[in-house]
């Protein structure tokens, strides 16, 4: 549910993320597979999203599960429109503070792709009061960790601190919400960093390239077709003024949510927020026009050639996202379907394609119902075993889908997925960061954190018939997009130079 299709400001931040998430990551699968999941976590955008669904399978479900402390969650709104949600968790003397902006690659236009993410980088480059680089130094000196990430739907900045240091976080975030000093000089350096990031994330990663092409094929009109990091051409031609324009457009209290989770008192957080964010002025935000992807009317295919050994196949179907948390049925059934296909090591895809027929070395399925852009896809992907082709794996995956369409799922499978939901709900309480992520993501995508409370019942109510029905309805050829990696050999990788003699 809660997706992590984010670009982070740094590599070290990813280390940091892994440190946070490893508790889930490494408990789901054994180490070899865990390694591959970690690797996937480092990929951008869509890849990230799928990871969020597989790696964070538990989390995916639990994301919508009621939180232990839901009774202690309080929300406020300042006069300038800033939303504040505080969840008290007194297990440890720490606090997580996040500022979520409703601005992501979804809001970009052609020719300026990647600007949301570039601005995220620039947010650390100083304000009228705080010099470039000082933000990080001040947080570090307070014992804190800080970073930021950009997704399709939002840009988020966060700090993790010992609880008494919360005022510093609030003060600094309020300052850079309106006082950013975005200079040409700093921009010129940072845009080069972002281009290095794109090379690292996408250019040299064959599966990332497939993902990028896949998205621009499955979406023809909707902005989800564009890479979060931006096309290289757009980065090369981006100016400081583009970033300034973005900042002026979207960075305002009435386009943001402050989420605080930890050993704090809600009333005290409100007081701090009033003190620092209170004086900021609301701004009129641009109209957000609905952007709707026209119905797909025939199968789409794309092939990507890149240097690699193994092929890779990535397939997607347009499916509905969550719109009305009370009335919708299909999103919950699709969530269960993802669990049945790939919710645990015994789920269908792994059991049938990796363990039994051994046609794949790795196979995956995922669905994100929470999307601010109100468009989403159900994704299936995998790597064929040596000697097997992408086409053979594609056929095998489709056969699994077909089995569900014709024969449905078993009661045992349904109960298994639901049992995991219950456990995951408990496990998530061990991480404050996750809890803050869930709240922030829901608030920023146009839902309320309160739907976390109704979600378990919604999932528990899903029937086997409903799961079969969504498979039949959406998994049809005319609604399918397939991207494949055609691996190209690398000729010369022989070492030159002399190794040590020990």
């Amino acid at each position: 549910m809660t997706k992590v299709q984010n670009l982070s400001r740094s590599f070290t931040s990813i280390i940091f993320f892994l440190e946070l998430k490893s508790e889930y990551l490494c408990q789901i699968k054994v180490s070899l597979v865990c390694m591959s999941l970690l690797k996937r976590l480092l990929r951008p955008s869509l890849e990230f999203r799928r990871v969020s669904l597989k790696t964070f399978k538990w989390w995916a479900f639990l994301a919508f599960f009621p939180m232990l402390a839901s009774a202690e969650t309080k929300e406020f709104k300042l006069e300038n429109g800033l939303k504040i949600v505080v969840q008290e968790d007194h297990r440890s003397p720490v606090v997580v503070s996040q500022v979520w902006y409703r601005a992501g690659s979804l809001d970009e236009v052609n020719g300026k792709t990647g600007v949301a993410h570039v601005l995220e980088h620039m947010m650390f480059k100083g304000t009228k009061e705080i010099k470039a680089g000082q933000f990080s130094r001040l947080v570090a000196a307070a014992g804190g960790k800080e970073n930021a990430f950009t997704s399709q739907d939002y840009t988020t900045y966060f700090q993790q601190l010992e609880k008494s240091q919360l005022p510093l976080s609030i003060k600094l975030e309020a300052d850079r919400m309106v006082n950013l000093n975005l200079t040409d000089e700093e921009f010129a350096k940072e845009i080069k960093v972002v281009m290095e990031e794109r090379r690292w994330r996408t250019e040299d990663k064959p599966q990332s390239k497939v993902n990028e092409q896949f998205k621009s094929t499955i979406y023809h009109v909707h902005p989800y077709s564009r890479p979060i990091v931006g096309w290289m051409n757009d980065l090369e031609n981006m100016t400081a003024e583009d970033a300034r324009e973005w900042y002026k457009k979207w960075y305002a209290p009435n386009n943001a949510t402050l989420v605080v989770v930890g050993d704090v008192k809600a009333e005290e957080v409100l007081k701090l927020a009033k003190q620092y964010f209170g004086p900021l002025k609301a701004r009129s935000l641009p109209d957000r026009k609905p952007q709707v992807e026209p119905a797909q009317t025939g199968e789409r295919r794309v092939v990507v050639k890149a240097q690699a050994k193994l092929p890779y196949v990535l397939m997607g179907f347009h499916v509905p996202p969550l719109n009305d948390a009370d009335k919708d049925v299909d999103p919950y059934a699709l969530e269960i379907l993802a669990g049945v296909l790939n919710g645990n090591a015994s789920a269908r895809l792994n059991q049938n394609l990796v363990r039994q027929s051994q046609i794949a070395v790795d196979v995956d399925a995922g669905y994100d119902m929470i999307q601010r852009g109100r468009e989403t896809i159900f994704v299936l992907d995998g790597t064929p075993s040596e000697g097997k082709t992408a086409a053979e794996l594609e056929a095998a995956i489709l056969q699994e889908v077909e089995k569900i369409k014709t024969s449905g799922i078993t009661e045992e499978e349904l109960l298994r997925v639901k049992a995991q939901v219950i456990a995951a709900d408990v496990y998530q309480r061990d991480s404050m960061f996750y809890q803050a992520m869930q709240i922030g993501q829901l608030e920023t995508t146009g839902f309320s954190w309160k739907i976390l409370q109704s979600y378990p019942a919604k999932l528990q109510a899903v029937t086997a018939e409903q799961v079969q029905a969504v498979a039949k309805k959406y998994f049809v050829k005319d609604n399918m997009t397939v991207a494949t990696l055609d691996p190209q050999p690398i000729t010369d990788t022989t070492p030159k130079g002399k190794p040590h003699v020990h």
Binding site: I28, V30, A140, K309, R416, A423, V426, H502
Partner: protein, 442 residues
């Protein structure tokens, strides 16, 4: 696929961070030995209805022989894919049915098995029953072994085309030579191919003894329950003596530089030297010093010089990975291939200046503020505490390790940092691996 050196790098960094976690007043670690000689580390906490278990063996990839490299990893993995008559599918299904998570990892030193389960009686009993079988009665089914070998080999072949994996593998080889720390945890295509079921059985019997195994327990259980769990895990393990200590790492006698051709748009550069051991006398000066050099994220010297001032990289970092024997000190970066030499030169200058000149009082103060002030975040979840228990137990660190950590950090002086780096990091004998750059400009 399965092997990814960059990730390994990252994982190592995480471990490095983990090691350095310090103490919070009130973390009451209880420690005892089972009747079969396993060491138990326990923290009781009833805030959440969760039980976490981690069992650790001296069975990492450094125990591999070169000709059967990858055996340690395959043994650990295969233990979870068939035990006591349960098939891989039985294990997965039964664990999923009660919402239990089975995990674990393998590094050069250690093989670990983790279990997270609800503490409710039905779930906990069932989860521990399966977990115990995995540790005590692995079946190593032939058909599963053959399948998993194919998957691992596919992963190795894929990794051999990716610059991150290539650089990491070449770096370990160049740094450690004939020492087993040079061996890839995932093995090589040839060595994995050569591994058979009897190899796994033998490795298991020799390395998974009750004697010296480290069992960490965290969460919603009483001391009596913890004792019973530890006893039942320990009781059925092989009656084997502890494996011998690993051989000592030898230091490079001269600098080396390897360039490996690759068509990637970025060059992947690693440089380093053998660093420190767990429990090393120089641990704290090197740890605090490294925070300033390249461990402190956006506030490190490397990030400042290479990224913030010049925009040459997205990522540049340094870390020490303390292991049972001397582990890696690694500096890493990726940069557009055309500017690889420029970036490497700058990194070397920054490192040399750091080692020769040491740190300023202001830098040291800022480092201490972050490390000491950030301590509470290091043990703010059951999952994190469990990892510390396992680490303290596995490396025989004092029980007060966490309690005294902040004091040890606070005591470090600028002179100690300069002295420790000078003695430990020989900048004229560094190992360098560059994948994907153009030929060196002379």
């Amino acid at each position: 696929m399965f092997t990814n050196s960059l990730i390994r790098g990252l994982c190592l960094s995480i471990i490095t961070l983990a090691i350095t976690t310090s103490a919070q007043a009130g973390l009451n670690i209880q420690q005892w030995k089972t009747s079969h000689g396993s060491e138990v580390y326990f923290v009781e906490n009833h805030d959440l209805p969760i039980v976490d278990v981690s069992t650790n063996f001296y069975a990492g990839s450094a125990r591999d022989e070169k000709a059967k490299s990858g055996l340690a990893g395959i043994t650990r993995y295969m233990m979870t894919l068939g035990a006591g008559g349960l098939t891989d599918q039985d294990i997965s299904k039964q664990m999923a049915d009660i919402g239990a998570n089975l995990g674990g990892s393998l590094d050069a030193d250690r093989a670990s098995f983790k279990l997270r389960t609800l503490s409710s009686s039905r779930e906990q009993t069932k989860a521990l029953e399966i977990y115990t079988k995995i540790l005590q009665k692995p079946d190593f089914p032939d058909a599963v072994l053959s399948r998993e070998k194919s998957r691992i080999i596919a992963g190795l072949k894929e990794s051999a085309t990716q610059p991150e994996s290539i650089s990491s593998k070449a770096f370990a080889k160049a740094l450690f030579g004939n020492h087993p720390y040079a061996l890839d945890e995932d093995g090589e295509v040839d060595t994995v191919t050569a591994i058979g079921r009897e190899d796994l059985q033998k490795f298991y019997t020799q390395h998974y003894g009750a004697q010296g195994a480290v069992i960490a327990l965290m969460g919603d259980m009483s001391r009596a329950e913890a004792e019973r769990i530890a006893e039942s895990i320990s009781a059925g393990l092989p009656k084997t003596a502890l494996p011998p200590a690993l051989p000592a790492v030898t230091y490079p006698t001269s600098a080396s530089e390897q360039r490996i051709a690759h068509p990637a748009t970025q060059a992947h550069i690693l440089l380093g030297y053998p660093g420190i051991k767990r429990g090393d006398v120089d641990f704290f000066p090197l740890y605090v010093g490294n925070y300033i050099l390249g461990g402190g994220g956006f506030v490190s010297r490397l990030t400042e010089e290479v990224r913030e001032k010049r925009g040459l990289v997205y990522s540049v970092y340094s870390y020490f990975m303390p292991t049972a024997e001397i582990g890696q000190f690694q500096v890493g970066l990726q940069t557009k291939r055309e500017q690889a030499d420029e970036a490497l030169k700058l990194v070397r200058e920054t490192l040399n200046k750091f080692v020769a000149g040491g740190v300023t009082e202001a830098e040291l103060k800022a480092a201490k503020q972050n490390i000491v002030g950030g301590f509470p975040m290091r043990i703010d979840s059951n999952a994190k505490i469990l990892d510390y228990l396992a680490m303290i137990g596995f490396y025989k660190l004092p029980l007060t390790y966490l309690d005294t950590f902040n004091d040890e950090v606070s005591k470090v002086t600028t002179a100690q940092i300069k002295d420790a780096f000078n003695r430990r990091i020989k900048t004229d004998k560094m190992v360098t691996v560059i994948v994907g750059a153009d030929e060196a400009k002379q």
